[in-house]
Chain length 271, copies 4
């Protein structure tokens, strides 16, 4: 089984009235099966750019955008396995008693994921399903069916409860809702976002954006689920992981610069 080479990256153009501290979270996270071969990050005009790790150990970049127009670019080439991401339909749910300390957190409510509010619905829908990977898949199936994808249908303040009611959302809302249902059953689930190239996907997806999906703890590890697409894919490149979208923002600006444009890309580099 070989590797495939993918070029990922993004560009943000801002127009700022004043100097604006900003944090970008756009870099590929290290992973056992993803190799970052090269990486460029630049900002024009040229100003200091400094990396650090956040509370969840995601790589972040701090910068102070100067007044006026500035362009931040990130680009990387990565090798990804030429294989669909794995699954194990027999992976068991683990009771809270046996969860590792650092996983417990992902059973609790967070800003956008509200298992407490959605507990009754989650138990009604999934409480009788035999526990394990297949039950999680049923949750994913349900959310994939229940929500209709629609840009602009939700806002930065929409919670899982809001989109469950409205029936519309973007990929982050799909993840928030499915995560909430999982946590209501004491199944640890966390939010993930990153680059998702169209490897072997037909037809190619809409114009590229960052994608959001989720991971669920079953057996002794995290497994990838994607309630927006609900298919196993090749080539996901994780940028950030956290409790929900409030923990992992691709750009956080301290001030009100105008975002003139944002472009995200992720495409195979053919030999």
């Amino acid at each position: 089984m070989g590797d495939r080479r993918v070029r990922i990256g993004c560009e943000f153009i801002y127009d700022a009235a004043i100097r604006t501290p900003t944090v970008f979270q756009v870099q590929a996270n290290d992973a056992p099966r993803v190799t970052v071969v090269s990486e460029q990050r630049s900002i024009r005009p040229e100003v200091g750019l400094r990396g650090y790790r956040d509370l969840y150990d995601n790589p972040c970049l701090r910068v102070v955008l100067p007044a006026g127009t500035s362009t931040f670019r990130y680009q990387a080439e990565v090798l990804v396995p030429d294989a669909t991401e794995d699954a194990d339909t027999d992976a068991p749910e683990i009771t809270p008693e046996s969860l590792p300390d650092e996983v417990l957190l992902y059973t609790l409510p967070s800003r956008y994921c509200l298992p407490d509010v959605l507990a009754d619905e989650s138990w009604a829908r999934f409480g009788a399903v035999p526990p394990g990977y297949r039950r999680v898949q049923k949750i994913i199936d349900h959310v994939h069916e229940h929500l209709r994808f629609s840009y602009g249908s939700s806002s930065a303040q929409s919670t899982a409860v809001d989109v469950n009611t409205s029936g519309y959302g973007v990929c982050r809302d799909f993840a928030h809702l499915a995560i909430s249902f999982c946590r209501a059953l004491n199944i640890p689930a966390r939010y993930v976002f990153g680059y998702l190239p169209d490897l072997d996907v037909q037809p190619a997806a809409e114009p590229m954006d960052f994608a959001a999906w989720m991971e669920v703890w079953l057996g002794d590890r995290w497994w990838t689920f994607d309630p927006r697409n609900n298919v196993r894919r090749k080539g996901r490149v994780v940028v950030g992981r956290g409790r929900d979208a409030s923990d992992v923002a691709m750009a956080t600006t301290f001030g009100g610069p105008r975002l003139e444009s944002m472009v995200v890309h992720a495409e195979e580099v053919l030999p």
Copy 2:
């Protein structure tokens, strides 16, 4: 300046239908000026009790409550300074550009603290006040005036926005609202809870409960503010710190045991 000796502790009695994994967060956190002299933790019937540190480095205890009635007790003796907690009315606000990496987090929205929703009000009320410790004190004064303390007026799902509208809350709501106003101005603020003995307070407070307050980053450190009481006190013993109450729960049960009783105490041990 001497020390005073304080006995703190709590007791939880649960009645559980089935074995119930539970996390207690009730132990005194280490602090430069607080000395833990002795500590007991017990559970009857006797079962395993194991400590770990959460994401914010707060000490936690994991236990599996057996079916039936069980009683968890924590008690400690601590030495606290015989001095009112410090303040520096000249401590400056720090712009996001200059904040330490690990403090940035506390300028962002979290589950109960919603600076984004409250941004307009915060800027309207406090935007023209000269930055610094005194501005933070004005926020605290406002919240102390605006909210009326009332048990039962808010729930485990009430956000800062909810209590700002209703005008009622308990100590955690006071903290959530003041934290939200601070963060809206890019001032880092975090939630704290712990034991608060009535040292030199007349008259002594209502029957003891855990108390919630907050810390604000000014200059190069965190400073204590208490929007519920709005006075500087002696003898606070911190148990947990986090973004808001969702990060620091005194007890988290995975299942639905009945809480038969909860007692919290914190009183001086006189020689």
Copy 3:
């Protein structure tokens, strides 16, 4: 399988010419199967005592001993399983390629453990033995045979190489030597010290001291080995873990106070 109740503790009496900053590392570390029921730490005269975690996440206490005589005491009651510690003679060695990131460190040389210097001997003695738990046991057996236990035969500066040559050592030297042989074969091994009660040991051991032993990574976890005693025991209570004794000192004094006496105890509390 029930638990047994053990009382552990220690007392250090110092005579200091001047105020002397000191770090004590004597507290029971949390463990899945060890429950700390109660804990007292005190210092007379009474001065501030503050906990923190070191680089290896071991609990430490900082204190400034006053001039004159001072007495530090730690005592705890813990529950330990009434079972001999486990072993799995089929547990496999893991190649460096597959070791977790955080375990790699324990294959490298450190101050007292010198696998580079002892590489030839280790390969000559154990290189032909089939890899796995049994090979580690052969290393332990060899060190247990090769070294003769003798107080005062080694110093705080003796390395594994020194004691291998001299043939004498105390428990920490047994551990350093066996760890060095393991690491020379790329088997991760780390140093452990703590309390070791005489549960079901006949005859009871010499007057109690802290004991040093080691842990070896096989399969997917750490396993306990004790080259000094070379028997599986009940009731070990770990205080600290590190690369070797330089990482875990029961007391570190910044200055030259005289240690008047040190007492360590660990005994069962009978019902």
Copy 4:
């Protein structure tokens, strides 16, 4: 004050009889005043390359070198300030009592730095010098004078004591000895290595290698000292920090591949 652009990098060529797990520590560490603009890492033949952070939070790369010849390359472009690194000759020494918890470690012995063995000499030479930055500079001056730089004069097992006796060493030995003298006086000191371009240095240095220097805690921060060169420089790019060289190896191989060649470079990119 502007920035200058520096290209740094290295190349290792190995010939391995069998697959050889290897850790490279060659990447620029993030720093407030150093901006990594672009970074490439590659290995031919192409195999997985995965990043992680070690115990000291230094970036590392894991790879398994295939049997045969393989070439690892790292290259980055960084912006460094066009200013000599700062110094404050009035920065005070901090007593152990007041050191931050995480700094205490750097006052203790480690594998190559032996303040315990060198304590008498350190106190004899520097004990009477008034404490502070200037005393540290005196230590640096002494080591710079005392040791003669000579490739091959010391080995991977030479300690500070060894080179103090022999009078010869390479840059790492200079650092180990000066660190040992500092620690003997309870002054925290740690080992640093990285890229050191010849910005404004005349004549340019010998063929480039990684350089080792040190940092000392004075006042409330770490300050750079370089006992090998004993001049304040421009453009240092830190790769790793630790207690001594045993904590930060540019390449660690688990097996015995032959290192065919190693090239390190760091040079200004002129506009």
